[in-house]
């Protein structure tokens, strides 16, 4: 039994719960966005504004991914678009970490 055969049941299960997992990820990302915005409102820190912007992109990404599954006719949110969104998120988080 190869390594890939061992992974197959896991990927199969992940595929079966894909919509539920993506919906949950979307809800959690919205929750973190709200917390980060409240943290910014409380501290007025520019770092937390950057973090909030990162989580905003994160939430938008997940909303689009879920919308893709439920309402769009095909794959609107391509892997390329996802890569760009994640690049922006990581850049914002990276900048927030190093911003004084």
């Amino acid at each position: 039994m190869s390594f890939w055969d061992f992974l197959r049941p896991i990927t199969q299960t992940a595929w079966e719960i894909n919509l539920a997992a993506e919906s949950l990820a979307m809800l959690l990302s919205l929750g973190i966005l709200v917390i980060s915005l409240l943290a910014y409102r409380k501290t007025k820190s520019k770092r937390l504004l950057l973090v909030s912007a990162a989580f905003l992109f994160f939430a938008i990404k997940w909303i689009l991914k879920v919308a893709d599954q439920i309402i769009s006719p095909g794959f609107f949110f391509s892997r390329a678009s996802e890569a760009v969104a994640e690049l922006i998120i990581l850049a914002l988080l990276f900048y927030a970490i190093f911003k004084k």
Partner: protein, 178 residues
């Protein structure tokens, strides 16, 4: 009043003073985050406000906390409020609120800290006359000197679950400071 207006004519100074009046007991870093001023600038303005007797600083452990002299006063409750802002001390005080008195070991078991840590915290509380101690059969029993005042302050500073979440979120990002 004219003296106050004169001292607060600079917007940065006014910002610092308002932050201190609104949030008594803030430490330097928190004050810096809220006012978004550089360390040197904030220190300069705080010194200026202290010289004009508008703000006073109180050293509490490793933190220096700032209070308004003219604004909202906490008077003798100030020390208690400082201590209640610290998680471990708040846990000990909260536990003592539920008992008439308790030994160091009983407190340590209830709050999940080591007896030596609890002993150190208790010495601070006893030193500030917040907790009293009585000896009975070779054991020391600790009790709150004024439980009513503690309850009154705790009610005023109670945080919601969302406040806790937001504070933890801020702490996480603070801990990542370069």
């Amino acid at each position: 009043m004219a003296e106050l207006d004169d001292a607060l004519s600079l917007s940065a100074r006014d910002k610092i003073y308002r932050a201190v009046v609104k949030n008594p007991g803030l430490h330097f870093r928190e004050l810096q985050r809220r006012t978004e001023l550089a360390t040197g600038s904030l220190q300069y303005h705080l010194d200026y406000l202290a010289r004009r007797h508008l703000v006073k600083s109180v050293k509490q452990g490793k933190f220096v906390r700032y209070y308004s002299v003219r604004g909202e006063q906490f008077g003798e409750d100030e020390t208690l409020m400082n201590l209640l802002r610290q998680d471990s001390l708040r846990k000990i005080v909260l536990f003592l609120l539920t008992r008439k008195s308790a030994t160091n070991l009983a407190i340590a078991a209830a709050v999940g800290l080591s007896p030596s840590t609890v002993s150190w915290h208790l010495s601070k509380l006893v030193g500030n006359n917040i907790v009293g101690v009585r000896k009975r059969v070779r054991k020391k029993y600790f009790y709150l000197a004024n439980p009513e005042k503690v309850m009154q302050l705790l009610r005023g500073y109670k945080k919601s679950f969302l406040d806790e979440l937001v504070d933890h979120f801020v702490e996480i990002w603070d801990s990542m400071e370069p």
